[in-house]
Each structure stands twice: as C-alpha cells, then as structure tokens.
Amino acid sequence: MPESRIIDGREMVPPEPLEKTLEALDSLAPGEELTVLLHCEPHPLYSILNKNGYRYSARFLADGTNEIRISKR
C-alpha cells in the first residue's frame, strides 16, 4: 500500500484547496499518494495534474464529496 496524505478542502474557500494541493505536490515522493477531498469538480487542478506528470482518479462519495487520489506517473 502506498503512503497517503489527505487534504480536506471541503471547508476551505477557493483557491485554498488548490494552493494547499500545489504545495503538497512539491514534496510528493514517488509511490506516495495525495488524497484531496472537495465538494466540486476541480477542472483547473485536473489540467495542472495532466500537464505536470501526475496520475489521478476521482470518484464522488455518497455524501457528495469528490475524492481525488493523486500520485506521480
């Protein structure tokens, strides 16, 4: 199982979740996973991840939370 860090952005005001996620990506080690919890579809974040060599999967949970798992490609 890869190590995992969590950013709960559900109670944060934009762009704080994006700020915190970008900060965390700077120190994300190979094999490590970053989980971001949001109430929305963060298309700007997806675009940044695609352009910078990260893989991610996103799924909506029953309570409306979007759980995004990010790791290095």
Binding site: E11, V13, P14, E23, D26, C40, E41, H43, S47
Partner: protein
Amino acid sequence: MQPILSFEQAPPISVPYRFFLTAPLFGVIAGLLLAWYGAEAMSSRWSPAALALTHLLAVDVMLQVMCGALLQFVAVVAGANIWRPHLVASVVHPMITAGAVFLAAAFVLGLPILFLLAGAVFALGIGFFLTVMMLALWRTPARGMTVHVLRLAVFGLLVTLLLGITLAGILGLQTSALPLLLLINVHVAWGLGGWALMLVIGVSYLVVPMFQLTPAYPEWLTRALPFGLLLVLCLWSLQLFSPADEAQAWQVQVAEAGMLLAGLYAIVTLILQYQRRRRQTDVTLILWRVAMLSLLAFSASWLLFEASPQFGSHARAPLWLGVLVFPGAFLSVIIGMLYKIVPFLNWLHLQRLGEPATMPNMKQMMPEGAVRWQMRLHISALALLLMAVLWPAWALPAGLAFAASCLLLEWNLLGAVWLYCRVRDRAVKDRAVKDQIRAVGQDHET
C-alpha cells in the same frame, strides 16, 4: 452540476485592473461633489447635483467595475473567447470614463451639447463592449443558468443604453417630442433590474456557494428569478406606448411584483449565507449581507411608498431608494467581490510565472486590517447617506465619509497591484538568471 472554471481563457491581468483602479477614483469625486453641493444635492432626485451623482455612481463606478469583471468572468466561467480583450479594454475603458464625465458635467453645468457628446461616446464605447460580449456569450459551448442570466444581463445593458442615448438626445436637442418621464421610468428599471440586479443574480449563483460555502440556490428559484424579472421589465416597458403621461395602475402592480422578486432573492441569499458550512465571517460575506439587507430595505421601502402616498410623494423618497440601491446594494456587492477577485487574479497570474511555493498566498495579497477598515468606513458612509436623506444638512459629512471610503478602497487595490508587480518582476528576474546560468553551463560543456 458543478460549473467548469477555465483559467486558460483568462485575459491579461491589465484588462480588468484598469477598470477596477479607475472606479474608486470616481467614487471619491462623487463623495466630494456631494459634500460640495451639500443639502442642495439632497433636495430632490431631479436636482442637477443628484442626477450627476447618480450617473457618476451608476456608470463611472458600477459599470466600470462590472465591465472589467465581466471581461474576466465570462472568459473564466463561461469559457467564452473574448475577441482581443486587450484592444476591447483599451477602447471601452476610456470611453466609459469620458462618457460619464461628460454626462455628470452636462447635469451640473446644464450644457445640452455635453448630453449629445456623452450619448455619442456611450453609444460607441458601451456599444462596442456589448457587441464583443454578445458574440462571446452567444458562441460559448458552456450551459447552465449562470450563462443564461449573463446573456439576459447583457441584453438589459443594451436596452438601458438605447434608452439612455434617447434621453441624452432629448436633453441635448431640447425637444419634447418623446415622453421624457416615461422614458426615464423605463431606463431606470432596465439599468437597475435588467442589467445590475440581473448580473448580480447570475454571478451569485456561482460565487455565493463557492466562496461562502453555502448550499446551492434552489433550482426552481434560479429559473424563476431571472425570467420573472425579465417579464416584469417587459410589462413595465409597455408604458412607453401609453397615451397617458404616467404608469397605469396595472403597471404599478407589475413593478410591485418586481420588488417582491428582488426581496425574495435577498431573503434567499441571506438564508443560504446563514446555512454556510464554515462559520468564519470574512469581509466579502459581511458586504454581501449589507447588500442583501439594503436590497430588502429598498424593496420594502418601495412597497411602503406605494401603499402610503404621504411618504411616497415626498420629494426625497426617491433619494432614500437611490441610496439603498446604489451604494447600499450594488456598491457593497462590488466592493465585497473586488476583495475576492483582486487577490485571486494576483494569485492566478503569479502561479503561472514561477514556483508556486515561492509566491504569496491569497491572504498575503491584501492586508486584512486595511480591508476591514475600508468596510467599516463604507458601512458608516452608507448610514450617513441615509441620514442625509432624512436631514439634508448631513450631506457634507456623508459625502466626505463616502469619498474617504472610496479613497481607502483605491489604496487597498493599489497595494495589491503593487505587490503583484513586485513579485512578477522578481520571478521574471529569477527566471532570467536561471536561463543565463543554464546557458553558461551549456557553453562550458561544449
């Protein structure tokens, strides 16, 4: 469904900033003008000073910020391609500024030629802006109520402009061929309801849940509000074809329905804000609340004035409504949104320049203390302006307080722009040094 934000489409930062930095300066001029004219400006809505002040606020402050914000918002929220935004801003910004100065001067000096000049400049400047905006909103593939409501708001501005140009023509040519009062009734309704309120409604569907962490607006309301408002405005406009010189009884009832819609929107927004998930209260939230309470007070006062002619027929009753709606409702929303938009744009554009970790975060873009002081000053100025309607001698302190509030707003915005320029220049310099080191390294290898 969540809206898609497309930051790739964002225009250059100088496009919205030129509008944002100009607007408060005209707020200062409006405040000083009120202080200079004093009680005379508060005698009636038809006093030259009151008419000049209204148009300085509506055009050089409100329209200025709304145009700048719309150029940014439409590109980011609707993913719409704005045709050459830099060129559009370079043409529209000076024309709006000059047009409003001509118009205010025309009222104060009573010079008919200035009305014609203002009408011509607005026709070109705002007409150009509307053409670009309509093309962008027409072609965008984005769907959703916010985009539909933005289209309606742009249509509202078009009707306001056409009626405004007609009025400027009547005053400039000194003709009585058209019913002046009816045209003013309809011009004011479209400017306030069809353009300004429609725009605030459309923007709020997105920004209130996003920035204030509230539940979404009920779906039925997101449809009922804009289309109900449009219906009210169309029916209200029928008075232009009436043989009488004033609105008919049924049209007054239509206007009452419009006021109920505005009041309903304010109440729902306040309830949503009460239900927000994060209990923290920031300046933007407070200013939105002030705005919604002012809008509610505006609607309630209008209905009270209709029900009680002893209040409604008073010469200063329209001034009471004007203070509640211009500085109270719209300017409060505008200031609150500027405090979100400007730090966000700084952050967004700086992110693209360098290492995100070395860039200031959102909270560092504007000093919280100065922002809170400006908010307090704005609310105090609003209270003094309302007092000045009741006791016109208060116009002097009210005008000075309003000017001071706008001056501090300008100072806060300039501080954020200065910070942006400083960090941008540093990032560009760092990048140049890194490129130079890399080039020297490659030379050594070869």
